[in-house]
Symmetry: C2
Subunit: 93 residues, 2 copies
DNA sequence: TCATTATTTCGTTTATTAGCGAAATAACAA
DNA sequence: TTGTTATTTCGCTAATAAACGAAATAATGA
C-alpha cells in the first residue's frame, strides 16, 4: 500500500489515473494530453505499475494502459481504516 | 486535495495519523513512539497541518494533535471518484 | 526575573524525485 | 534486411524532501 500512496503523491500521475478511469489509453495518447516528455511519462508509468494501479497490454508497438480498479478499492479500504475505531464518545457515524 | 495526497505519501506521517485515530496525542507523546528526532517530527506536523489533516490545541507548553476526520472523508470522496464513470459495459458495481 | 519544559524554526547535509534529450528496444511492414 | 513507429531505458541536472542538531520561542512555576 506504501507504493500506492507514493504513486498518488504526484499530480501528473493522478491525472493519468483520471484519464484512465474513463477509458483505456495508449502511452502516446496519454502523452498527447499531458505537458511532459515521453520519457518522463514513462517514468511515471513505472511508478504506477510498481503500485499495481495500472496494467498494460501490447498490440504491435503500441502499449495500452488501463486502470486497476481493484487496487483503488484496496486503497479505499485502507483509508476507511483511519476513520474506524475513533476516540471515545464519538461513535463512528 | 493535492496537499492531502502529498501528506499521505510519507510512511511516518501515515503512522502519525494511525496513532491519532485512536486518541489525541501531544507532540512529545508521538515523538516517544517514533524513531525520528523531534525537529524532524515537527516538520511532518507542518505537512499534516498544511493538508488540514490534523488540528492542534495548546495547553501550557504542550501541544495536542488530533485527526481531522472530515478531511479524511473528503479524501475518500475524491478517491471514489476514480471508480465512478468507468469504461463502457462495466457498470460500476 | 530566571529556570525549566515542550515544541518549533533554522541551517545544513544527504537522499529522492522529476524532468530532459539521446540512445536503445520492440514490433511490424515494405 | 531495412526502415518506421511506439515506447522505454540511460545518463544527467535541477528541484524537493527528509533528517539532524543547535538555537529560538512560548508558557509556566519558583
Amino acid at each position: 500500500m506504501s507504493d500506492v500512496f507514493n504513486a498518488l503523491s504526484s499530480p501528473v500521475r493522478r491525472e493519468i489515473l483520471e484519464m484512465l478511469k474513463a477509458q483505456d489509453m495508449t502511452a502516446g495518447e496519454i502523452a498527447d494530453q499531458l505537458d511532459v516528455g515521453k520519457s518522463t511519462l514513462s517514468g511515471h508509468f513505472n511508478v504506477l505499475k510498481a503500485a499495481d494501479l495500472v496494467s498494460t497490454s501490447r498490440s504491435g508497438t503500441t502499449i495500452t494502459y488501463s486502470l486497476n480498479t481493484s487496487v483503488v478499492e484496496d486503497l479505499l479500504t485502507s483509508i476507511v481504516g483511519l476513520l474506524s475505531k475513533n476516540k471515545e464518545g464519538k461513535e463512528n457515524a
